[in-house]
């Protein structure tokens, strides 16, 4: 009886017989379906409108990259110059060093953001005492949730060679620390290490979750076979989280041109521009500080296109290697 009250579109095959007559009437079926789906379309209106304006609307502005843009003339009144802005950009003496800096910093971060959390998760996983484990986690997750504004302020003070806490702790040992934020050699390294400091704890959460899903009986049988702790880690634990490691590595690839704007913009200075300037800070200085709108947009567009290729490649690989899909 109840089955007959079912609407056509969620009918199972059995119901098709009960609703045969109506199902045959495809016009009515389509109208019912449209009616049933209408509220879903209505729910999507606000998001479609806002995303349409702010994400898609802004894409029209990319046109500036192909113009000799004059703000008073606007997007429609400025002269189109083809790829001239890109030519100017690629022949700028600072452009390729900036790409090199960006890739160096981003790649180092990508690698360490996998390696350090994995090692940390493995070590933490060896701890049996839950209370101890929890307190360690509480401390190491915290930096992830704080902004680079706050953290940059803290690091600038902390790493100051004259008055920072690091220098004060090291001086009794006779160690003179370098000027981490004001030295061309140390600056990119400091960026990588402080970024790993901020993120490794939180990054380990996903590996800890993967570790708990390893079947404990595997360890038992390994112990019976006489495998020590190290052998167990090598042959059970690591293969157990292998797919998660591959997935996170592959997804990280999408960040190839993300040097970390928030971090570097708040910690760099003119002294370290040679090694510390990245694409995003370059786009910002060009666009906001020097008002070179066309060049800045061109540089931003270049970044978006390269990133897009890497994102597509990384999602493709994630799907192939781990069966991962974002939707």
């Amino acid at each position: 009886m109840r089955r007959e009250a079912l609407p056509p579109h969620i009918c199972t095959n059995i119901n098709l017989f009960a609703w045969g007559e109506i199902m045959n009437n495809s016009k009515l079926r389509r109208r019912n379906k449209n009616l049933r789906e209408l509220p879903l379309h209505i729910m999507l209106i606000p998001a479609v409108v806002l995303v349409g304006i702010y994400s898609y609307g802004s894409m029209a502005g990319i046109g500036i990259a192909f113009q000799r843009f004059v703000p008073t003339n606007g997007l429609f009144g400025s002269e189109w110059v083809g790829l001239q802005n890109f030519q100017t950009l690629f022949t700028m003496p600072t452009f390729w060093p900036i790409i090199r800096n960006t890739v160096f910093i981003a790649l180092s971060k990508m690698i360490l953001h996998v390696v350090v959390p994995v090692i940390f998760a493995l070590l933490l996983n060896e701890v049996a005492n839950i209370g101890f484990k929890r307190s360690i986690q509480t401390f190491v997750y915290l930096p992830h949730f704080l902004s680079w504004i706050i953290l940059a302020g803290i690091f600038k003070d902390l790493l100051s060679p004259s008055s920072g806490a690091v220098a004060l702790l090291m001086s009794p040992l006779g160690i003179q620390i370098p000027f981490f934020l004001g030295d061309k050699f140390w600056f990119p390294i400091t960026m990588v290490l402080t970024d790993v400091w901020k993120g490794f704890g939180f990054g380990s959460v996903i590996y800890l979750a993967a570790l708990t899903s390893i079947d404990p009986s595997l360890y038992e049988s390994a112990m019976i076979d006489g495998a020590g702790r190290w052998k167990q880690t090598l042959h059970i634990t690591l293969p157990g989280i292998q797919s998660t490691i591959i997935l996170m590595t592959v997804l990280g690839m999408a960040n190839i041109l993300n040097g970390g704007f928030d971090q570097i913009y708040n910690m760099y200075s003119p002294v370290v521009l040679d090694t510390g300037d990245i694409l995003d800070t370059f786009v910002f200085r060009l666009g906001i500080e020097s008002a070179q709108f066309a060049l800045s947009t061109a540089a931003g567009f270049f970044k978006s296109i390269v990133s897009l290729l890497f994102i597509i490649a990384s999602y493709y690989l994630a799907d192939r290697t781990a069966g991962y899909r974002i939707f």
Binding site: R2, Y54, G61, I150, I206
Partner: protein
Amino acid sequence: MNMQTSVSRKIFMAFNCILLVGTALICILPFINQLAVSFSHKNAVAANQVIFWPIGFNLSAYDFILKGDAFMRALWVSIQRVAIGVPVNLLLIILTAYPLSKSKENFRFRSIYSWFFVVTILFSAGLIPTYMIVRFTGLIDSIWALVLPGALPVFSMLVVMNYMRSLPPELEEAAYVDGASHVRTLVYIILPVSTPTLATVTLFSFVAHWNSWFDGQIYMNRIQNYPLQSYLQTMVINVEAFFRNSTNVSADIARYIELVSARTSAAAQMFLAMIPILIIYPFLQKYFATGLVLGSVKG
């Protein structure tokens, strides 16, 4: 042999514990240092005496900041931003995730809409075009400039959508049999069982709104409209200028100059801006594991 392994195991465990405690200390000591600086007398700080324990303990730095208009005004902007931004985010996440969680049979336009949103995480127009559209829609110097451009956090929406998709389809079918509309199904069936995920994305949205500074800096022309993080970004320079220029000032301010320096007040401001995150931190810890795992892995 058993004895041997247990000895080497003990050595490893001791070493491991020391390493983990060391790691935890590296994460937390920078904050202890800043806290100590903020509570110390400015002369002790200038003489490099303060590391992890305040010297010449006083609260003047906090007093100085909390009495200052600029900090409180920026705090108020940030509170407004969170109060408007987080509910807007949550509403749009729910309204988008629910239709997109439908199967293709039940919502034929699902993939078109999904791609429409996903494209925005694959490709962004960049700084200047985004600025131009915000300007074009007249949001410069308005609180809505900090809310509307990011009104739908697509990643969070995908997390919620994937969660809704993982719910047993019988839930909805039962509701539908009973004649419930989509709105009723969403409000009375789907939302109550989705609370853990919704809590996660709400917390993430809170953190994102509280921490963002760049949009405030570029979309606000007047510094009075800066939210707290944008204000903090520029403040170090301002505070230094304040202390440099304070040669002849009222007795009230002179009292502070006695005890407070640019460094101690900067540390105090930093710590004050951390407080909201510290308050919600226990909840964050409870929920964030759910939010991390975006997407679905086919079994």
